[in-house]
Amino acid sequence: MAPPEAVPQPPQPAADAKEASAPAEVTETSAPAEVTETSAPAEVTEASAPAAGVKKAPAPAADVSPDSAPAASVLEARSVSKRFPGVVALDDVSFTLRAGETHALVGENGAGKSTLIKVLTGVYRPDEGELRLAGEQIAFARPFEAQQAGISTIYQEVNLVPLMSVARNIFLGREPKNRFGLIDFSRMHRETTELLDGFGVRVDPKRPLHTLGIGTQQMVALARAVSVNAQVVIMDEPTSSLEPREVETLFRVIEDLRARGIAVLYVSHRMDELYRICDRVTVLRDGRHIHTGDLADLDRMQLVSMMLGRDMAEVRRDGVTSFGSEGHDASRTPVLTATGLSRDHQLHDISLSLYAGEVLGLGGLLGSGRSETAKALAGALSLDSGELSIGGRTLRRLTSAGAIRAGISLLPEDRKAEGIVPGLSVRENIVLAAMPRLSRAGIVSRAKQDRIVDIFMKRLRIKAASPEQKVGELSGGNQQKVLLARWLCLEPKVLLLDEPTRGIDVGAKAEVQSLIDDLAREGLAVLLISSDIEELIEGADRIVVLRGGAVAGELSGDEVAESHLLEVLADHSPAPAGNAPAAKEDPR
């Protein structure tokens, strides 16, 4: 159970070095919320004290190892089954969580991960089987009881009260009282500041939560979960909205929990993370338990093939991501040219060109302006200045509708909030943007719609009971495919993809990746935003890196490699030679 030295680790973004120069981050809308790395938390236990020299070793190695003696089990599920009408979500699943371990829970969507978590946290009651907490049989009637018993959960989507202050959120339901029985605000704010300092988050505890960036909100949720005396912390995709630096902080918190003997159940699609921080792994598939064991004993291929239930050789042939290995032949006249896109506080003089047949990666950390750039290119963000031309023709008034007419399509980052219309059918979601084209005199033609829908459901292999099924009932991966179909049926020239594979299962992810590959091969100009560095490197022919809302560098050819990208991201070295945009950004 040695910490994952055995597995190849990607070089870490040298976040510490970045702090020295303390660049102003534009993550937050108003000033004082910057996430700091260096502050060594005062109230943390001795175990993390060595880590105070955060410099070189943020990695686990320094820890008091919990594996000298096999730790006692904290939480145990025995032969748990859970059925829903029409489907068995969990079928005789058993697994044990030991004190002080970080336990990965993996599986494709529909494998039963969420159901298992909900059983463990008292949202569902198992139909069969039993739960044991510290050896004693327990049954939770409500999630609150599970929390009282010491099981804290951090959900993928932040589960707090947006309009309340940071401190109120952290102490919700257990506010410190003064002698008049009223909330002791000064103590609450003081303790919140101390607590968040331990997480490297510096933020005014009086600020309403919704004014923070999503990553910072996630850290607040984490702080709350940990501060309620948890014995078990369940994290459901905690990093999906964090930027690399925040991920580092999260990992350090997990190390700290480990040292205090708290068990962590960690759910993530990101292999890198699992191998970095998890001791053991449990694999579920189709509601059944497939494997539990030390993660170090499995290589990635073995793990992926267990999750997919696919032949090992087949997985290996496909590669880790499903992008073809060779680049695309990009033509040399740009389809889309953006010059000097600027918007107060968000974008500063961004210029870039997109060529037909290429995948242009847009790199950068959270808050670097990637999504804003994509939205600006799609006419969905009003600009202070800047020009957009497509096929040599300058677009005058920028609107979503205008951009779509000109052949620019944007797959937005937030699938739920900006993508799907959950109450409408798969068919209507696909034809949403194309509806005027599929109508005559304002009356929709079902025949035309059905034809298009049929083509794209087949091509993208959208799994739905029928085109009339509500899209809200589909899995994340299939929803994403529906959205891709919505844009592809417009036959765009430029496709802007903002985190196209975030939060979707491994199978769908592979399909989306190879689709992106195919589309570029067919001559589409694709802009790819991804915080999955592997995906960005393997998928893109060229990468423009943003930092603080401005172009920080451009990588092409052999420079499209992890080490180069991280250097530019972390502002570690002068941007690679031969890129003009970087010079523009130079303050001198």
């Binding site: 059925r83 489907v87 189709d286 799907i420 959950p422």
Partner: protein, 324 residues
């Protein structure tokens, strides 16, 4: 949700009666049927052509207003100004009847369109909450109507206008016929036209619709204009039946009747779905309920309590479904 064992087969015929979703879908029709059955058995002189005709004539204006309201609620909005719009329409009629029936009708309907355009602009361009935006004309509209009418009730003597209220075609009162045709037209609009589907999509997810290039503002304004015009039409028909223009009382509390009809009909208040036929049935249910209780010599206040119970039941059923 792949394979695994399918565990609940053998659909028992009555099993769906325990499914709240079924009630949201069909509950309102079931309730109308139950009320009619009850009356057929226990109320004298209820299931007669005369009485049913009276019920339909009375409910027709509510149905017409509720159709527009259903569209607005489908966009996650609400229009409180419909009653005042009816008052405006009724106040304008006697002022322009001197120029003939058609100019008077046009002016009244135009007033509805203007009210709608103002509401729609406040909601979509200024970005006000619908309840606040339409509150302005809820208050101001009736005030303006009273000013125009000098605060007076005026008798209507124009025979053409009066025949709108009393006339019938093939034995069906014109008012009922107009409401039925409009219900069919709105149903078609919602189900089959680009505009209708865009309304539903905008109600279901405004930002997604905007990013998909839908003309969100135009559609929203259009919806409020339609709602205003329908309310004005209801005002005209109600005036014709009353044979008088009375802007101080016409259409008071109409907004609540219309919202009730829409909600009871199964249209969710959070947008993304519009049930036109359900709205008609919802209006009908409230009307029949009231008539039933009145026929059994119970005071009007009892009817209000019964209606409240129905509203709570409708909202409860909708809630059940969402939380599943």
């Amino acid at each position: 949700m792949t394979q695994a064992a399918i565990s609940t087969p053998a659909a028992r015929p009555w099993a769906r009666l325990r499914d709240p979703a079924w009630y949201q879908e069909y509950g309102v029709y079931l309730a109308v049927a139950v009320v009619l059955l009850f009356n057929a058995l226990f109320t004298e002189h209820f299931m007669t052509a005369d009485n049913l005709r009276t019920q339909l004539v009375q409910v027709a204006p509510i149905v017409i207003v509720a159709l527009g309201m259903a569209l607005v609620i489908g966009t996650e909005g609400v229009d409180l100004s419909v009653g005042s719009t009816m008052a405006l329409a009724t106040a304008l009629l006697p002022l322009y009847l001197g120029y003939g029936l058609v100019p008077a009708l046009v002016m009244a309907l135009l007033a509805g369109a203007v009210v709608g355009a103002i509401n729609g602009s406040l909601v979509s361009l200024v970005g006000l909450q619908p309840i606040v935006a339409t509150l302005a004309l809820f208050v101001g509209g009736r005030g303006l109507a009273l000013v125009m009418a000098d605060g007076q009730l005026k008798q209507i003597v124009n025979p053409d206008l009066l025949s709108l209220g009393t006339g019938s075609f093939l034995g069906i009162p014109l008012v009922v016929l107009i409401a039925a045709v409009l219900a069919a037209a709105v149903a078609f609009l919602v189900q089959r036209t680009t505009f209708g589907r865009q309304v539903v999509a905008i109600g279901g997810n405004r930002s997604a619709a905007a990013l998909a290039g839908l003309p969100v503002r135009r559609v929203l304004i259009g919806v409020y204009v339609l709602c205003g015009v329908l309310a004005a039409l209801a005002g005209i028909l109600a005036t014709a039946r009353l044979t008088a223009s009375d802007p101080s009382s016409l259409g008071t509390l109409m907004e609540l009747s219309a919202i009730t009809a829409v909600v009871v009909g199964g249209t969710p208040l959070n947008g993304g779905s519009i049930r036109v036929l359900g709205t008609v049935a919802g209006a009908l249910l409230m009307q029949l309920l009231r008539a039933t209780l009145v026929k059994h010599d119970l005071p009007d206040s009892t009817a209000q309590i019964a209606q409240a119970a129905i509203i709570i039941a409708a909202v409860y059923v909708a809630r059940e479904r969402r939380s599943r």
